[in-house]
């Protein structure tokens, strides 16, 4: 019984650490184009890092036909894009301030981060 309880409590700690405390690795973008695959509930890559002032072309290729994936929204940038299935759809972004620009589907099940650093 003790072991089960210890495992349970460890799981709670692990959930907190993995989903909230551990920062996922970002893809540092040196070129100006990133292709993002939209499939299986995730954007791949989902964490992208660019420099302030860097204009970047994000090309979304949606493979998931579920309607959840049909839009990608950059709320902070006031941009949204319809993603047809199996057709690369591009959007150019050039954030004016540093910070974390989240992009997501309408339901926030697909979530990605565009981090802009100095």
């Amino acid at each position: 019984m003790l072991i089960v309880n210890l495992i349970g409590l460890s799981l709670v700690v692990l959930i907190i650490w993995w989903f909230w405390l551990k920062k996922p690795q970002s893809l540092k973008v040196s070129s100006n184009t990133v292709e993002i695959i939209v499939d299986n509930g995730v954007y791949s890559p989902s964490n992208i890092e660019i420099k302030l002032g860097q204009a970047v072309k994000l090309i979304f290729l949606r493979k998931d036909p579920s309607p959840c994936a049909e839009k990608v929204i950059f709320e902070k940038l006031g941009l949204s894009l319809d993603l047809p299935v199996n057709k690369p759809t591009e959007i150019r972004v050039k954030p004016e301030e540093t910070g974390d620009y989240v992009f997501n589907c309408q339901m926030k099940m697909y979530v990605g981060h565009l981090k802009v650093n100095n």
Binding site: V12, F19, N40, V42, P67, M107, M109
Partner: protein, 743 residues
């Protein structure tokens, strides 16, 4: 022979055209490639593969993408969605075929006990069958969960995969090692895992069907774009694909046809049905020089017009773009939910672990079984999708429905604000009135006559852009009067104009102008007041410091302004009218239309300050104006409404654009905003209540008191239906009707 149209990116000079054409012509099968530098497009004809064509352009360091007609894209999208819908139903069907007999068998004792003779083998076979169904019908949940987990994210797939995965794993442990748990806990949950997977697939299919209807408005707008146009080339009429119509081409439209691109009529006249863009049900008469818009229908005559805007520049394309963008935005109310949704799944995971531990520690018998069932039920019943969908799906339907009524809402915030308005400030000219004033009276002073008064008035106003000026000029034209030479023309904001006409100084304007220049107006002051009380705008004309008469102009009130203002009152709004006119004229108009308050003699630059005045008194203020002259006031207001007449309105200028020039649009916009907001609140309330009640019940909170424990399969059905309910509720907005559609 194939024909493709491409958009070409990266062309900066005419030299690039040659490079792109060379690249296109190098592709095997291409017979002709024509690049249009102005439009950044290319048309390629021949027997070639479009992928090769795009690769060739990219190899030449330019961007290329295939341009398709709206209909084709929509049809392709529908085909993909239908295939996915069928796939979901198939997955649900397979799960049902296996799950239902497993469930019935378990209930009726068809299958032997796990620890009986042959029991282990039977259940192992059933377990393998379950595994097969899980792979076929539920693989996408497991891949999604794993991929999300790797990037430190958790979503609905995580919950479903963990819930059903735990049930399956536990059942295999029971079957393979029955002695590892007490005999009372030896129960396999294969049927639960399979039925839950089936129900969720079925729910997703239903949700997909319902979601298809939410985008009907945008599909209808896209469907307005004709595929072909009849163009006059080399003296002949030829039917060409819409993508091949260029600027400044001459097109013919016959009765009953849709107009293919935006343009200006150069020959003929007709009445045009613009209801699909403006919501205005009555056809509009159009003559030479009038603009026509893509997607509208030519009701009667045949006419020729010149194309002025094509492709993404047409009003229709701009409307579609604006609606699409607005449908993706969220009002502030939705952003709070986003915060909850973003931590929802990990929180549910933690709750499920705690539920397991509580049952495992406190249950007096069958602790492992109870712990597993409740944990699984918590994971399955939690529905982040219903929460996440609640706001965007209502916005999508609400904004789309508004667009069908000729109301373009810029974003979710505008929609939320419009639902909270308390005061509506209306600009008089062009909003309450037609904005097309006409001369009604000419009153000469003792030593003057009507024609000389009108001649001088029309001459000096010739240089003015004021709407009253055109009314006087029109009246002079009708009387065939020759205008005089004007020098030193000056417009004095809020007062009138001055200048030299035939070398004599002339002043033409309101009382302030006359008083500032010490002109004695006592002779006609009473008459001017009388006219003002009838709603006329009276302007004094003085030559060489002597009063010569009054020209009175009246701007007719729009035929539906009175009823529309009454409807605004019915919605609980305070209605204020702003005007540059004198107090008497303003009062007369205000009395006719029934506004609550009138502010007269407001200079154009002071309109924004008047909006601030009401805001400082705690009012939520809407400003309604033409969107061009009122830009600062529209920007200052909580919601700026640009009101257009037909399709010539400046779409980009306000929070809400009314394509139909009627004040009914303001009332409709407020009503649909309120309806959408209340729909969002219903959805959010439902989703929150569902999750906040469902999760504790699933965790077994009712068991100690009433002995009620939720079956995980019922949790699966509830979860599947929760998203469908949210989407169906949002779909009710499609049936929203204006209190008065016909003007």
């Amino acid at each position: 022979m194939k024909n493709y149209r491409l958009s070409i990116g990266g062309m900066s000079c005419a030299g690039c055209v040659a490079s792109v054409e060379t690249a296109l012509n190098s592709v095997p099968g291409v017979e002709e490639a024509v690049v249009n530098f102005a439009e950044h497009t290319a048309v390629v004809t021949g027997e070639m593969d479009i992928a090769d064509v795009i690769s060739a352009v990219k190899a030449a360091s330019y961007d290329a993408a295939e341009l398709k007609g709206g209909d084709e894209e929509a049809a392709e999208k529908e085909a993909i969605e239908f295939a996915y819908y069928r796939a979901l139903l198939k997955k649900a069907g397979v799960a049902a075929i296996v799950g239902v007999p497993l469930f019935v068998g378990g209930m009726t004792g068809w299958f032997p006990e796990i620890d009986s003779e042959n029991g282990q083998l039977t259940w192992l076979l059933l377990g393998l069958l379950t595994l097969g169904v899980m792979v076929y019908s539920g693989k996408h949940f497991f891949t999604g969960a794993w991929k999300s987990f790797r990037v430190h994210n958790a979503n609905m797939d995580t919950l479903i995969a963990l819930g059903t995965g735990a049930a399956c794993l536990y059942s295999f442990v029971i079957v393979l090692f029955p002695d590892s748990v007490p005999s009372l806990a030896r129960h396999a949950y294969f049927e639960a895992a399979v039925i839950i997977i089936g129900l969720i697939n079925f729910g997703s299919a239903l949700e997909m069907k319902a979601r298809g209807k939410t985008s009907e408005a945008i599909k209808r707008l896209i469907g307005l774009q004709p595929k072909t146009a009849r163009v006059l080339r080399d003296g002949k009429e030829v039917d060409v694909a819409i993508s091949e119509v260029g600027l400044d081409e001459t097109l013919r439209v016959r009765p009953g046809e849709r107009i293919a691109v935006d343009g200006v009529i150069i020959e003929g006249h007709s009445s045009i049905d613009e209801s699909m863009l403006t919501g205005e049900p009555m056809p509009v008469e159009k003559n030479v020089g009038d603009e026509v818009s893509t997607g509208t229908i030519n009701s009667s005559g045949t006419f020729l017009f010149t194309s002025k805007r094509i492709g993404s520049d047409t009003v229709l394309a701009q409307i579609i773009d604006m609606v699409r963008q607005a449908q993706s935005t969220k009002p502030a109310i939705g952003r709070l939910v986003d915060k909850v949704a973003s931590v929802f799944v990990p929180v549910v995971l933690i709750i499920s672990v705690i539920t397991f531990l509580i049952w495992f520690n406190l249950a007096t018998e069958n602790a492992a079984s109870y712990a597993l069932v409740t944990t699984m039920t918590v994971l399955i019943i939690a529905c982040p999708c219903a929460l996440g969908l609640a706001t965007p799906i209502s916005i999508m339907v609400g904004v789309g429905k508004a667009a069908e009524m000729g109301i373009l809402i810029r974003n979710g915030d505008a929609l939320q604000q419009a639902g909270k308005l308390t005061t509506i400030v209306l600009d008089k000219t062009g909003t309450v009135t037609e904005g097309k004033p006409a001369v009604t009276e000419i009153v000469p002073a003792k030593d003057a006559d009507e024609n000389s008064l009108l001649t001088i008035g029309a001459s000096i106003e010739a240089g003015s852009e004021h709407p009253l000026a055109s009314a006087i000029a029109m009246h002079a034209r009708e009387k065939e009067l020759a205008l005089l030479k004007v020098e030193n023309f000056a417009a004095i904001t809020g007062q009138g104009v001055s200048g030299l006409v035939d070398n004599q100084s002339v002043l033409f304007g309101n009382t302030s102008l006359m008083k500032n220049h010490h002109v004695d107006i006592s002779q006609l002051e009473n008459k001017a007041q009388q006219l003002s009380q009838q709603g006329r705008t009276s302007m004094y004309l003085a030559v060489a410091g002597q009063l010569k008469g009054i020209i009175a102009v009246s701007d007719p009130i729009k035929k539906d302004s009175i009823e529309a203002i009454q409807r605004l009152h019915d919605l609980g709004m305070k209605v204020v009218m702003l005007t540059g006119d004198n107090q008497l004229t303003a009062n007369a108009v205000a009395k006719q239309v029934g506004v609550d308050e009138v502010i007269a003699e407001v200079l154009p630059q002071d309109k924004a300050a008047k909006v601030v005045y009401f805001q400082e008194r705690g009012e939520q203020v809407a400003m309604v104006g033409d969107g061009i002259n009122d830009a600062p006031a529209l920007a200052q207001a909580n919601v700026g409404f640009a009101i257009g007449s037909g399709t010539d309105v400046a779409i980009e200028s306000a929070d809400i654009t009314l394509m139909r020039g009627s004040l009914y649009g303001v009332a409709d916009a407020i009503a649909i905003s309120r309806a959408t907001l209340s729909n969002i609140k219903q959805n959010l309330f439902g989703a929150f209540i569902y999750n906040t009640l469902g999760i504790p019940v699933a965790a077994g909170i009712l068991y100690p008191l009433f002995g009620i424990l939720l079956n995980p399969m019922i949790a699966g059905a509830a979860m599947a239906m929760s998203s469908v309910t949210v989407v169906s509720n949002a779909n009710r907005l499609r049936f929203f009707k204006s209190k008065r559609q016909v003007t």
